[in-house]
Amino acid sequence: MRYSGFRVIAEALTGHKGWKPVWRDPAPKAEYDYIIVGGGGHGLATAYYLAKEFRQARIAVLEKGYLGGGNVGRNTTIIRSNYLLDGNEPFYEFSLKLWEGLEQDFNYNAMVSQRGIINLIHTDAQRDAFTRRGNGMILNGADAELLSRDQVRSMYPWLNFDNARFPIKGALMQRRGGTVRHDAVAWGYARGADLRGVDLIQNCEVTGMRIEGGRIKGVETTRGFIGAKKVGVAVAGSSSKVMAHAGMRLPIESHVLQAFVSEGLKPLIDGVMTFGAGHFYVSQSDKGGLVFGGDIDGYNSYAQRGNLPVIEDVAEGGMALMPAIGRARLLRTWGGIMDMSMDGSPIIDKTHVEGLYFNGGWCYGGFKATPASGWCFAHLLAKDEPHKTATAYRFDRFLKGLMIDEKGQGAQPNLH
């Protein structure tokens, strides 16, 4: 079923009787050519592009819970391609370009909204670093602008300009950055994959991997053994748990990142903003809630919940930047489990097991990467070679000393 304004009107006039399930609930088959483990954004996008762009068939996505229940369902919905390093920027720019055509591509309105992102500058050193970054972005075909303090002030005159501990001195802006309705991304990919014959199998947890002679044969699941020629794992947050089934230890720790939403407010913030002197970033959803976040809690956790000090820290950053939100109320906090990698950058790579592929280590940058991650992982699965924008995302970069360390923090995941 093709979605359109016409269809919505036609259904409305006929009592909404014609809507069909957005996806089927197929029983798992005995064997597939491709099994994607993980029905989050990245897994669903991988299946979608495998079927659509790489013309592959006999594909299943195995999801332990519900589709889109991973970090695609619990993030702060920001898209951007304002990365610093050569290993990252082409990939994230590829992703942003895919976002720009996504809704027409998968016929689902995910509300990709390029209202711009600004990273506020508070010191000369930050301006130098952002200048380097902005120029790198432009060299990679992305857009970037440096805003003066006055330009920022004209956009958001009610920020703390006059009594700030760390005065705002300007900003790096990417106008093509913005937000996307996160759940809709999962649903759009799921629907698109389902339409192309991909079996989306929910409530099906992978409990083991069958590996014979160094080659993957399939996966053990809570719904029985399912054979596969190739298995791609895209379960960020649980990567270490799943890859342990293949005997692998990963350069990844699981950490909890909290995120927050306020009660619905009349329009206040148009785009996305990050505070450069504290842990705070914010946007406002189309429903009016301020969606914001800050730093990870900082300790290994699989608990999908965090603690009060980080909530306070984020609120302090918010109030330091925006003293007018004192009477806005925090409505809900939640926690997602991040695959924090050892250099803060992801991995899309083969493994030592033939036919077993891995996609993970997204830290807290996974949402914006969803389209490119799916595309590049599908490319790797279908062609056995990395996509040209993802050549740096290899396991062996740590052994070779080719880390992609945006923050320059070294092998300490909780600092990335």
Partner: protein
């Protein structure tokens, strides 16, 4: 969270700084071990969902490094030791 410091008693986790897996104590000897051994030591992690031994530093306190045994699913802490004791028990010296 509250960490029951072996010397100071229960202290708020906010007084501490987290480093990571306590296996970081087991640093290879740089004069004998090579890149591969250091690579595995520095970069790869068990990252268990469950009991985890990890290093915390009492920065706003007595500057002890501690090995805290904590469940990464429930956050329950079952044991707290001085990292120095753990290191010595593991055969580390000078």
């Amino acid at each position: 969270m509250i960490i029951n410091h072996p010397i100071l008693g229960p202290r708020d986790a906010q007084e501490f700084v987290y480093l990571g897996d306590a296996n970081l104590i087991n640093r290879p000897d740089g004069m004998s071990a090579g890149i591969e051994a250091f690579h595995d030591y520095l970069y790869n992690r068990d990252n268990p969902a469950g009991e985890h031994r990890e290093l915390w530093y009492h920065e706003q306190g007595d500057r002890s490094w501690l090995v805290v045994t904590r469940n990464t699913v429930t956050h329950e802490i079952t044991k707290v030791e001085l990292a120095r004791d753990v290191a010595r028990a593991g055969g580390r010296s000078k």
